[in-house]
């Protein structure tokens, strides 16, 4: 196999991977809008976008300040092909404030704060496959809503 042919094959593969990645990302955007956003109702979405492709067993973290006197809903939704998505909320001292595992893997959590805090959300896709199986992967979206104070 000559050098030109190898370069051509690598170029085609690179292009293929780039297109495939873009498609996956685009799917996450559509998934976030179509499957996660509606679960925030009647809260108003803050407009921010957090979504990524996660593989079984993989974790993501999110840092955000939440404010007193605001009513919040967080929605964390994974694609149907994924196992349950677990999320935990920690304060700045790493104490667990909430775990959806204790609530049958609830996909939303409503809360409000007496004083403003920065919280850390840790999201993990559960593992159900046995060793050697191909792990499932799919989009996970995290969205926040709040209620308008009149």
């Amino acid at each position: 196999m000559n050098a030109m042919r190898i370069i051509r094959i690598i170029s085609v593969l690179t292009l293929f991977i780039a297109i495939a990645t873009l498609n996956v990302d685009a799917q996450c955007k559509a998934f976030a809008k179509n499957d996660c956003l509606p679960t925030l109702h009647p809260y108003i979405h803050d407009g921010n976008y957090h979504a990524a492709v996660l593989v079984e067993g993989e974790e993501a973290e999110l840092y955000k300040t939440f404010y007193s006197d605001m009513d919040y809903r967080v929605a964390i939704i994974g694609e149907n092909k994924l196992p349950d998505v677990e999320f935990k909320v920690y304060d700045e001292d790493k104490n667990i404030i909430y775990s959806n595992k204790d609530n049958n893997y609830a996909k939303t959590w409503d809360f409000k704060l007496e004083s403003s805090k920065q919280l850390r959300l840790v999201v993990k896709v559960n593992t159900v496959k046995k060793p050697g199986d191909i792990p499932a992967s799919g989009c996970v979206a995290i969205m926040f809503g709040f209620k308008i104070k009149k």
């Binding site: 108003i44 976008y49 957090h50 955000k64 605001m70 935990k88 700045e92 403003s116 850390r120 709040f146």
Partner: protein
């Protein structure tokens, strides 16, 4: 959206327990350290809509003179200035929307559209968005949803098209505009016990997140300048003390809403507030010129 790659172990979990009050995120080193240990990280700043909501909920009055002039929109031709002012105009749009400023809502949506178009963000705000806005101009909730959707369209487009640096600049613009409007609306004669001052102090909690967000995109030259500016802001925020006791949770059985209770004490002198206002005004002035 920002995703960083990293490796290594995470900090362990701890059961909730009673602990003495601790200074919140001293120098934000803890947040930065945690970021370095994680695999996929989202740094979430308050969106322009949330920033405007925080000002409104603090009881502040609307004052048009603190918004970025609509005429300035024609001056922004670089990606940096368009991204900053997409955030700024979206915050101004949100502010106008919450105070039912009907004509300004349309005008600022058009200014935000100009910025989004300049950045090549396809269809984030199109003519049907403007038409829908006009049809529902007296319905605050529908307007909020439209503003939220257009911002989602913009930042999801940037994230999906591998432009996280631009997305982070948009967020910084929106956050700074909210901070600028809030500092300008404070009546220094009624400084003590002022709810809006409390909201400004709260922004100290986000400065570490903001710096982490920018740090993850520092290879972009426009972001490098912003980091220097935000570090000036951090120096002033570091003069503010926030002391918090651990959170205790309580569930309202009727609404199923969890209430996070925690005593917090803060202090910011009038002199520090004036410093902060000046630095914010200088930075914001550089964004809108």
């Amino acid at each position: 959206m920002t995703i960083l790659s990293g490796c290594g172990s995470r900090g362990g979990e701890k059961a909730q327990k009673t602990e003495p009050a601790t200074e919140v995120l001293k120098d934000n080193k803890q947040a930065i350290q945690d970021v370095k240990q994680a695999e996929k990280i989202f740094q979430s700043l308050p969106s322009p809509l949330e920033s405007a909501m925080l000002i409104k909920s603090a009881g502040a009055k609307f004052d048009r003179k603190f918004l970025n002039a609509l005429d300035n929109a024609k001056n922004y031709s670089t990606n940096r200035s368009q991204a900053l002012n997409l955030g700024i105009y979206t915050c101004d749009l949100s502010f106008a929307s919450l105070y039912d400023q009907t004509q300004l809502i349309i005008d600022y949506m058009n200014a935000a559209k100009k910025m989004a178009d300049g950045l090549g963000i396809l269809d984030a705000i199109n003519q049907s968005t403007i038409d829908e806005l006009e049809e529902n101009i007296n319905n605050t909730e529908v307007i909020m949803k439209i503003v939220s959707e257009t911002f989602l369209n913009s930042n999801s487009y940037l994230a999906d098209n591998d432009q996280p640096a631009i997305a982070s600049i948009v967020l910084v613009g929106g956050w700074m505009e909210g901070l600028y409007i809030a500092t300008q609306l404070v009546d220094e004669k009624e400084f003590n016990g002022n709810k809006l001052v409390g909201r400004i102090i709260d922004q100290k909690l986000s400065i570490g997140v903001l710096l982490s967000l920018l740090d993850s995109n520092k290879e972009n030259p426009a972001v490098g300048d912003l980091i220097a500016q935000m570090n000036k802001l951090k120096i002033v925020f570091d003069k503010i003390n926030i002391t918090a006791k651990p959170i205790k949770t309580e569930i309202d059985k009727t609404t199923n809403v969890t209430i996070l209770r925690s005593e917090v004490t803060t202090d910011m002198s009038l002199a520090t507030f004036k410093d902060l206002s000046n630095v914010v005004a200088q930075i914001r002035s550089s964004f809108v010129k």
